[in-house]
Amino acid sequence: MKITDETIDYVSALAKLVLSQEEKEKAEVDLGNILGYIETMNELDTEGIEPMSHAFPLKNVFREDVVTNGDDRDNVLSNAPVKKDGSFVVPKTVE
């Protein structure tokens, strides 16, 4: 499968990545080879087959809507790259 610059730009934007020119060129070749190989699936007739997301039936698991964990804010925030007054800090997003 031929992967174009536009495709790489599109999928890297979806994956929130910026690639260098060198990375882009390598990605075009690699993704082309890999997707080309993936297309061997098309040899298989899957007409009428139901797509299966899990190998055995999983039922939704319900529980009572009660809080079981305590206040763990400081602990959870301990890994934040930037924090302030008990909150995560991000750049200003709304003018």
């Binding site: 495709t7 790489i8 599109y10 999928v11 890297s12 979806l14 994956a15 929130k16 990545l17 910026v18 690639l19 990375e23 390598k26 990605a27 690699d30 993704l31 080879n33 890999i34 997707l35 190989y37 993936i38 297309e39 061997t40 699936m41 098309n42 040899e43 298989l44 899957t46 087959i49 139901e50 797509p51 299966m52 997301s53 899990h54 190998a55 055995f56 999983l58 939704n60 698991v61 529980r63 763990d72 602990n75 959870v76 301990s78 890994n79 934040a80 790259p81 930037v82 995560f88 991000v90 750049p91 997003t93």
Partner: protein, 489 residues
Amino acid sequence: MDITTLTALELSAKIKDGEISVVEATKAQIERIKKEDQKYNCYVTVLEEEALARAQQVQALIDAGELKDSPLAGVPMAIKDNMCTKGALTTCSSKILGNFKPPYNATVVEKLEAAGAIIIGKLNMDEFAMGSTTETSFYGPTKNPWNVEHVPGGSSGGAAAAVAAEEAFYTLGSDTGGSIRQPSSFCGVTGIKPTYGTVSRYGLIAYASSLDQIGPIARNVSDCVAALEVISGYDKKDSTSVDTGEYKYTDALVDDVKGMKIGIPRGYIGKGLDEEVKNSILKAAKVLEEKGAIVEEFDMDIVDYAIPAYYVIASAEASSNLSRFDGVKYGYRTEDFNGLQDVYKKTRSEGFGMEVKRRMMIGAFVLSSGYYDAYYNKALKVKALIKEGFDKAFSKYDVILGPTAPSTALKIGENLSDPLKMYLGDIYTVSVNLAGLPAISLPCGMDSKGLPIGLQLIGKHFGEKDIIRAAYSFEQTREYVRPTFTKGE
């Protein structure tokens, strides 16, 4: 006596008898790591202080008559670096989690601690478990203890190599497409990938959630089974956890395969399989046959399509799971940015390695509008057919036998530049994950280069006991072989 050469169960017996103290065992293990690990690079983090403090606590518990029912109490062990350990670095072998200290423990860690395990460190892996060689780790490749010019396999390469190098008595790995079994095969040790839903995934940093499963790696079947008993069980924190009510796997440690029906898929011993590996696998099948098993070959051609289906599904789930790494809540954040979108993009581009980026892009592609049906939905249909193929096989056989990998351990660097070639090495392992089945890899021979060969036994859903019985029976016919610890050094 050299403590670190003992098996996990031998050590725990000596601890219970008072012949060796937990502190003594822990010190011996850490000394060995300090001496040897610069050669192999199995560990990302060694938790020396924590382990020694814990060793004293566990010894006190044992002295007080507690932990009697814990066969692995006091035994030093280590965990792949994608399982959360409260307050202890958990990197996934990635730059993006280079400073991450989880605020909670994975369920398997809680279970190990309750059973008196001494966690001595976190093990190297392919970044985010994406790879089959442990070369994609941000912290450098792990090397095979049998020959340091070769890879240990992956993604749980550190976990398998540490067991072979006697840098841990047993370890936990995770298996999404073969990541416990293939490195176990390459390093000459035993690893179990349990049925999906057997071991809680709570606190396992997700790669492909519908395929990921945690399992043990050890120097023999009995040690593996003891560890599996500790970590398995229903967990309400994992919504895909299945309550089977039956986790007493040691009952299956029986040297008897009389009447057991074993099937060998012809596709597993055909084209693409190294001749020496093939001979070794067929010899192992013969051994089981001589012990009374009924062995026959059969066709299951659908598994030829397992690799393409696997890479579509795994990459799709990875692209979704890894979107959480955004430089806001934990982990690495880029230093120089202009607005929130820039934080995301730069953090991720600087924080992830190339293999991870590649899989996220494949995932984004196969899920994107216009391609979703042709790739993702198609893969889910192929998955349904693979499951059907195994269901049919297990209506005739108790266990499916084949190689774990098409060759023995590759040389470092051999496949790194060609991802597709690396993916094709997963041919005998990925279908097991797609179908959610249990499987074990155990050593069955050596090739002419002196590298170990792995035998894979696959069971039906929750059929762990069948594969354990077959593996244990085979193991009784063969001595455990230690690496010589000299080659390539």
